[in-house]
């Protein structure tokens, strides 16, 4: 099968941020997403304060450009105060043009 390389963007955050984050990624161009309920442990914001509890994991297939813009938005508006983890990876997909 002919495949296309797209960017899989993962955002892990407190559940209270769900609506804001979903609205934001769609404004930047994400055309779909998947949400998983997860639990976790980590550090929050610049204070590095410890947190532990329920979170959501948002996954979306986007272009590199959209992923980069979402990273920039997260850095400006979320990373300082919230327990948000975000990372990207390249995956191979069929029907990749759906996501770009």
């Amino acid at each position: 099968m002919r495949t296309i390389t797209v960017c899989l963007l993962t955002i892990i955050a407190e559940g209270v941020l769900e609506e804001r984050l979903l609205t934001m990624i769609q404004q930047f161009g994400a055309r779909g997403y998947t949400i998983s309920e997860v639990r976790g442990k980590g550090t929050r914001g610049v204070s590095g304060s410890f947190w532990q509890g329920s979170q959501i994991k948002i996954e979306t297939l986007v272009s590199d450009k959209v992923a980069d813009e979402i990273f920039g938005h997260l850095a400006e508006h979320y990373f300082h105060d919230y327990a948000v983890v975000a990372y990207t990876d390249h995956v191979e997909t069929v029907r990749g043009e759906k996501y770009l």
Copy 2:
């Protein structure tokens, strides 16, 4: 540790397709799988009609050949009518020979 590169195949689909998809991936050679309950939003099939709701995420470690054959089967039998997302990535695993 010595690791082996294998293909991590992810399929996201409506829950009603679970049994059919699990039977199919095993017929093509998948020796195990993991299923997560997720929620999502996207477009369905060629109509591009909007959907939103519960889905399952199936993950399986397979050879590149098996992943390609499953992609082909999904394209022929599912992509036209269903809200199915599928993508692959290469990961490093120990005991990779279990999956090939």
Copy 3:
């Protein structure tokens, strides 16, 4: 955005191992983790005996060195007897220095 490449380590195991595995990965240097409840099917240990049921998926962002040490520990203490799957992938993250 400037990103840093880190290792995303995934461990899938029986739920009864949760506390032991979380303690272990933190002893090796993991600073946070995410847990998902999943279901799966595969083979267990050297016997290759079949299993099917509930499992947990642990994901953590670590350095390559930490991932390799955890792989070594899993191989020595878990792979022989338990249904444990582990794999790594490289992902791009902002604030990657948090995880190293």
